[in-house]
């Protein structure tokens, strides 16, 4: 390994295809009704969150149930930077990543003393503590339920020093006063971070460090017996993954300068786990796909009301149309959780490796390989990760 940029050919192709898919979102999402800036920003941001989470869960097998705490910490850090320093997203993101990293270091240091279910419970407890702190105890810092928002009379020392900003309207986050961070430019800003994040993950997956993490996943005891101290490795993975979450939280604040405690709630942590499992644990692309799927459901399915359904099924005869609308309306609108639950159950039952396993099975169907190869590709997730 002479340079970090020396990648296998397969990695290069995966990376390029991934970048193209992400950057071309405004075009290929059009037919799905999802090509509007806010949702695409969410796709990019939660993609970052999911690949970061996958570094921990996919590689080391440590299931953190408290990742939303880092997301929230990142958001608060970014909004405070906006309020006090500058509306430029760069310092806000740096600060968000640092704060989330420190947070992860502290929580990881304690939680990683245990493994398995105890680790999960510890992280869950810490996340819930952070949520409650943000929600009520630390109200002067987090503004509790109301959420941390920008105000006209914020100091913003850097902006004030350079004479930027206006006195009448609330400022929007912008890159050196040139590009505003909402709408399509905001999406591309997030997309670039997603691609960088993806690249780093690829490198980690292919590195000796990544190999070490996988070894920890397969048998931690054996690692200890051979004389390895596994703790520094798991802690590093935990902190990296927390920094990804902090970056995602910071980007959420960049595209929409507001931070609320509900970002830290345990349901938010659970959502990250769902994303990763739905897409495919331990694969490079899986978690991103899972994140996109969940965000798509959350934003599009929840917006269907009976009106939309009536239009959709207008071609059916009167009686049947009514029945169909009645049945489907249970699964859309506020019932979108039900649909998501069903999809999740189906995926976990029939495709334990997530969407990526489905993809692999389809590919396998078309190009029949000899038995030995086929077995290897379904046996372990890590073995078939594109990074191999």
């Amino acid at each position: 390994m002479n340079s970090i940029f020396s990648m296998s050919r397969k990695d290069v192709i995966t990376f390029l295809i991934f970048s193209a898919v992400v950057l071309l979102m405004p075009i290929w999402l059009q037919p799905f009704g999802a090509a509007y800036p806010d949702l695409m920003q969410k796709f990019a941001i939660f993609g970052i969150l999911a690949i970061g989470f996958n570094i921990l869960f996919g590689l080391t097998g440590y299931l953190s149930f408290g990742h939303a705490a880092f997301l929230g910490a990142g958001s608060y850090a970014a909004v405070w930077t906006f309020k006090l320093f500058s509306m430029n997203p760069i310092p806000a993101l740096i600060f968000a990543v640092i704060i989330a990293g420190l947070f992860a270091l502290a929580i990881g240091y304690v939680s990683l003393r245990r493994s398995g279910i105890y680790f999960s419970i510890l992280t869950l407890a810490f996340a819930q503590m952070s949520y409650n702190l943000a929600y009520s105890v630390l109200t002067p810092v987090t503004y509790g339920e109301t959420g941390l928002q920008l105000a006209l009379d914020d100091p913003r020392i850097a902006d004030a020093a350079f004479g930027g900003g206006s006195d009448v309207a609330l400022p929007v986050s912008n890159l050196f006063g040139m590009v505003n961070m909402n709408g399509i430019p905001g999406f591309y800003f997030c997309a670039i971070f997603l691609i960088i994040g993806f690249f780093i993950t690829q490198r980690i997956f292919a590195s000796p460090f990544g190999m070490m993490l996988r070894a920890i996943k397969s048998n931690q005891n054996r690692m200890s017996y051979t004389g390895f101290n596994t703790r520094p490795y798991t802690l590093t993975a935990f902190v990296i993954s927390g920094m990804y979450a902090g970056l995602a939280g910071g980007l959420m604040a960049v595209t929409d300068p507001l931070a609320g405690a509900e970002r830290m709630q345990w349901t938010a942590s659970g959502e990250i786990v769902l994303m990763t499992i739905l897409g495919g644990v331990g694969t490079l692309i899986g978690p991103v796909v899972g994140a996109w799927l969940i965000k798509y459901f959350e934003n599009i399915f929840s917006s269907f009301n009976e009106n939309v359904l009536h239009n959709l099924f207008a071609f059916l005869p009167e009686g049947i149309e009514k029945f169909v609308v009645e049945v489907t309306s249970m699964f859309v609108g506020e019932g979108w959780h039900l649909t998501l639950g069903l999809v999740f159950v189906l995926v976990v039952t029939f495709l334990p490796g997530g969407m990526m396993e489905g993809y692999r099975r389809i590919v396998d169907m078309f190009q029949k390989k000899d038995d030995g190869d086929g077995k290897a590709s379904t046996k372990s997730d890590a073995a078939t990760a594109p990074a191999e």
Binding site: R9, A20, P26, G33, Y36, L39, E145, T146, G147, N299
Partner: protein, 447 residues
């Protein structure tokens, strides 16, 4: 890595990727030029105009949200000339003709705020960016209203707030693009004060339990100011988390505090729970300082009263509107709402219905959907026949000024909806205040 002969060459892949990147770079300019080349965002070009109804469909205020949505659907019907027309017939002055807005049929999209700022902003953004909503309305929490309102200011989309009672919505967080028909905490305090003095005397010690967010804080402040002006003392004010469920740990200390009035600055299910528990703890049967212990709920709604059951009997509070009002506008609204849904509307439904009509009327008066003109048409607009008597949208802070109702839980309800009696209709002059006392800045017309 074995080399595959049939696969794409590295050169081909790179070329393709480069072409893709160029397209991606150009695409946004195509998209934005078509989106922003217009005079304003989401200008309706077809024969329909889309409104966005952003209400809580899940979470602690879901009951209010469901009722709001019913009211909006009714308003859309009436605006499009279907049904019996409701308040379209009583509104004074009115430019609505029952043929949609400016001749365009009204369509709508809905979103779920979940009573969370994040979710509410996401669904509002979705309705504006994807569904082309020209106006956003609804909501049942001040935290959400403030968050969505500032988003709408950034987006240049008018926001007609639903149920939001915090002073901040049209006070320190007011926005040029945000309008509120509902009354606020200050008005509740000003209206309740004299009634409390009449009923309970001027020597009382009050204990506050307050929902720990934006609305609760201003509600507590307003009630403190109003009661202390009467000569009451404030024993203590304790903040409780929203959605706490169990309030017993907050109610026990009330007994030993020497207070003889408990003021519950709670709303929705919080209020139902805290009131029920306070009654179960026997607070209302107690004698403190030689006086009967009393409970006051500054913001009262019929939906909450329904949830609290017998516990609300005799309890004083204030409300924006009640379905038992006998004026023409209220009657017309209650009649068409009842005919469609089989139950009288709540005050949340009323304020949302009125907001939708007011927006439509403002568009008609402005002769355009252009938000800046619509805002100017709403600012300072005086109207009547909408259930609250003569009302004015004050230009300085976009707050409606009208009479406020002081109500009491009905001791002998004749039906499951007959839960509140109007004690007094407090005139507008008594609850009016100077727009500058809460600070804040509306911001620019053009964004």
């Amino acid at each position: 890595m074995s080399e595959r002969k049939d696969g794409p060459s590295r050169r081909k892949v790179l070329k393709g990727a480069a072409a893709g990147l160029v397209t991606a770079g150009v695409a946004p300019t195509i998209l934005t030029s078509s989106a922003f080349g217009q005079e304003y965002r989401n200008k309706p070009t077809g024969d329909t105009v889309t409104l966005g109804f952003n209400v809580p469909q899940t979470g602690p205020y879901a009951d209010e949200g469901a009722d709001e949505l019913r009211a909006y659907e009714l308003a859309v019907e009436h605006l499009n000339g279907e049904g019996d027309g409701g308040m379209l017939n009583t509104m004074q002055p009115s430019n609505l003709k029952g043929n949609g807005i400016l001749g365009k049929k009204v369509a709508y999209v809905t979103g779920d705020t979940q009573t969370k700022s994040d979710a509410a902003r996401a669904s509002a953004k979705r309705m504006i960016e994807k569904d082309g909503a020209l106006m956003i309305t609804g909501g049942s929490s001040s935290g959400v209203a403030v968050a969505v309102q500032s988003l709408c200011q950034e987006m240049g989309t008018i926001f007609m707030a639903g149920l939001t009672h915090s002073n901040d919505t049209t006070g320190k967080d007011k926005r040029r693009y945000g309008f509120r028909h509902f009354f606020n905490a200050y008005m509740s305090g000003a209206a309740l004060g004299p009634v409390l003095a009449d009923e309970y005397g001027t020597e009382r010690r009050a204990y506050h339990l307050t929902a720990d967010y934006n609305w609760g804080w201003t509600q507590e402040e307003s009630m403190k100011n109003a009661t202390e002006a009467l000569g009451w003392q404030t024993a203590e004010a304790v903040k409780t988390p929203v959605g706490a469920g169990d309030f017993s740990q907050y109610i026990t200390p009330v007994l030993n505090s020497g207070a003889d009035v408990l003021i519950l600055n709670h709303y929705g299910r919080d209020m139902v729970n805290s009131l029920t528990q306070a009654v179960q703890f026997g607070l209302r049967d107690k004698q403190v300082n030689g006086k009967d212990f009393q409970i006051v709920v500054p913001l009262f709604s019929r939906l909450m009263a329904q949830g609290a059951g017998d516990n609300i009997k005799g309890i004083l509070g204030s409300t924006n509107w009640n379905w038992k009002l006998q004026d023409e506008g209220s009657q017309a609204f209650v009649k068409s709402f009842g005919a469609k849904y089989g139950a009288p509307p709540s005050m949340a439904a009323h304020t949302c219905y009125v907001q939708a009509l007011l927006y439509a009327d403002a568009c008609e008066r402005a002769g355009t959907f252009y938000p800046v003109e619509v805002i100017k048409a709403l600012e300072g607009h005086k109207f009547d026949g909408m259930g609250n008597g003569p009302t004015e949208y004050r230009a300085e802070d976009h707050q409606c000024f009208k009479d406020v109702l002081v109500v009491r839980g009905n001791d002998n309800p004749t039906s499951q909806f007959d839960l509140l009696n109007v004690v007094q209709q407090v005139p507008r002059s008594q609850v009016e205040y100077d727009a500058s006392i809460f600070g804040g800045d509306l911001g620019p017309y053009e964004v």
